[in-house]
Symmetry: C2
Subunit: 448 residues, 2 copies
């Protein structure tokens, strides 16, 4: 039995931020991680020499905590490539545009804009602290985004464009999303535009060496003696004085406090003794992960740049939802990213691997030119197959959940504290949100 | 390491039916149960001498398998008490009625009837085998029952009456329910009326000695050497040749096949090696249990019967959704049951125990008379606190789930077979459905 002040379950950005902060304040911490790596939903690697982010990768404006942390860790960022024209695909036809407003028939554009205004204006009325406390929360939580938006968006094409955004942001179809959850998420981000935009939005910057660098640097600072990989936590026995945590190897760890910093749905797999209050247990049980697949295609040349494309494309048609330029900072490792989210991602593993690659290359060729058909390397990460994430990019809360169970999101239960990007008040779902939650929970533990 | 032909995980009605049937066919079975009792969501006990069902209790017309099983096990049924007037509460005002049609302003009654017709007529078009294969399945799965019914039910009172039914049937608010899931459930039951009705419906009969008797009798027939209590399964290692199952005590069981017969959401806590295909894993992750609390109140006399009440009341107002007479067959142990479902059930544990009892007594007094305030005993079971059920009465599938993941519901994965009432084609969610799934899976294993 090993003793410490505070145990942290999960060595993603949230858990490591909490541990890193607590260590600075002189609190003894031990971090238990299920995987054989740190980083959680951030995970960086290489594809034929190109640095790629298999998971979360962007940071942007309105995210002060992550920039501060990056600076403190001695890491550097670079601006997401955003020059040239973007591509929009609707019903198999592509058009190009600059900035954030695609070309479409004006009345459809107006409906897209109306949809954005409608969501932003409803979201503005929510508090970031307690979106579930709004007078209309129960009503918004009893319907889906898809069912409700039809009143302002009667064009299927306009809805299709919004779907591409929702698949990318939530890894979900608009019909899966509780309207309340969608609004709370937008509120937490500041605006829908922040969620969508590259320049000036949440996709503004990437991190040199990949987003996992943040976790690797914090883990290095904590040291091997504090960060323990390959240790899924199976049981937490708790009372107000402290906890005993058992990992899958059968080892037990004792502490005054525990920070649970695993995805909210994954936490439901841990046996809590005594059982958690139902409001909390059902919040975890009801939450599930979105579905996301990231496909990376390496090329000899960044032919899309030469042709005046930014590499960004969005498709209302549903297989690939968006694409991005994924070259290194200096452009020396040409690479494109195709992101698949929602229903297509959930069934992606059922397609033949060669057919999957072909589907992606077909779309890239349609958007940027026939050179797309001749890559030098291809790789994909299906987050739905990642046991310790269960999907991606974020956790979803079915209709009827947030309005009733939201108050259990951050409330500590005795010696148990809750972190993770979904518990963040600002930039929920992003790396910034993970950092925010880690700092908040470090305060709770240090003050308690 | 213990060897057998077929392991069954979960000793509820589904798992025990499978084991009971396989044993009859000469297949060697071992059943592992997490709890210290059999029966799963059926659980019978006594309250001051009255036999009560803490969990599922009714069987009814259109449920041939459970009646056949009951006969085979030498058990007996009795008719649910259904004489006298019923009570309907809307906005704090009560009215009485006979049969299944309450008294309300005719235009509200018409809206309730329109709502029922609308649901029944949509449900009729679904196949029981594959409700997700319907051409409109994706659309119905992108909205909630509440969001959609407003087109035919603009009276809040009419919707409130439907809410009382939905809270009872699903343990959920109408805004939590995917319309597709609600329709598939109604289809599987034959009609909405079957779900609601006592006489001629699914609440027609009760079982002497309680519904758990079915499981107890099957377990007795299987013998202690085949049914192992207090053994939560933590891991299933599988390939096409067989499985190794590890329980929480660290013991390992080897078999050619395994039948997983635990609630679909609870199955997500088991570690599968190798991991399940995402379509199946996410089905389990996305599913969650409804919320149900059963409160039992014992009296000296069945005063409601004397006053000409059946003991059945429904409330559109949301705390108690329905009440039922819960006396023994001969009426010698007067008892009323108050059922709380949906949002009120989810937050029930946050109320003070004395306040909870008072809330129930207040409603019973409003429905049946002041004698309700003087019980001789009170007890409640909050299924949300039951670790191995996670809620009740049934599993729910959030919007967007059944249309995409439904095909994974019963499909075996190598040596793993799936049972449980939610996997049933007929009478899904009922004891009959559990039996149906047990018989189906026994066929799969015996033939495979």
């Amino acid at each position: 039995m090993k003793d410490t002040d505070c145990l942290v379950v999960g060595a993603g950005v949230a858990g490591l931020t909490a541990a890193f902060e607590l260590k600075k304040r002189g609190v003894e911490v031990q971090v238990l991680e299920a995987r054989e790596r740190v980083g959680g939903r951030t995970w960086s690697g290489t594809l034929d020499g190109a640095e790629v982010d298999w998971g979360g990768e962007w940071i942007g404006h309105g995210q002060p905590r992550v920039y501060k942390l990056i600076k403190e860790l001695g890491l550097r960022t670079f601006t997401t490539y955003d020059r040239g024209e973007k591509v929009l695909e609707v019903r198999g036809r592509t058009s190009t545009y600059k900035g954030t407003i695609p070309w479409m028939a004006p009345w459809k554009l107006i409906q897209i804009q109306a949809g954005i205004w409608w969501l932003d204006s409803l979201a503005k009325g929510l508090s970031t602290e307690e979106p579930w406390a709004h007078a209309r929360a129960a009503g918004w939580d009893a319907t889906t985004l898809d069912a409700t938006r039809r009143a302002v968006m009667w064009s299927a094409d306009a809805r299709g464009v919004m779907d591409a955004a929702m698949r990318t942001i939530f890894g979900a179809e608009s019909g899966e999303l509780s309207l309340l959850h969608a609004l709370a998420y937008i509120r937490s981000a500041g605006s829908l535009n922040n969620l969508i935009a590259t320049e000036g939005g949440f996709q503004h910057d990437r991190i040199l060496g990949g987003a996992q660098s943040i976790s690797l640097a914090m883990a290095a600072s904590l040291g091997d003696e504090r960060v323990h990989l390959g240790r899924p936590v199976v049981q937490i026995t708790h009372n107000t004085a402290g906890v005993v945590v058992r990992d899958a190897r059968g080892e037990e760890w004792r502490a005054r406090r525990v920070v649970v910093a695993v995805p909210i749905a994954i936490g439901a797999r841990i046996v809590f003794e005594p059982a958690l209050p139902p409001l909390r247990a059902q919040l975890m049980e009801r939450s599930y992960m979105g579905a996301a697949v990231k496909c990376f295609v390496r090329y000899e040349k960044a032919f899309w740049r030469d042709r005046g494309f930014s590499g960004e494309a969005a498709s209302a048609d549903g297989i690939v939802s968006v694409t991005f330029d994924q070259c290194s900072d200096d452009g020396s490792t040409p690479c494109l990213l195709a992101f698949i989210g929602g229903r297509s991602a959930r069934t992606w593993h059922q397609r033949d691997p060669e057919a999957r690659k072909q589907l992606v290359l077909d779309r890239l060729a349609a958007y940027f030119g026939p050179e797309a058909r001749a890559p030098i390397a291809y790789a994909e990460v299906d987050w739905c197959t990642e046991r310790w994430s269960g999907g991606g990019p974020i956790a979803l809360f079915p209709t009827g959940t947030l309005s009733t169970h939201g108050s259990a999101m951050r409330t500590p239960i005795g010696s148990i504290h809750w972190a993770g990007t979904e518990t963040a008040r600002e930039c929920m779902g992003f790396i910034e949100g993970a950092v925010e939650s880690g700092l908040r929970v470090a305060d709770e533990v240090a003050q308690g």
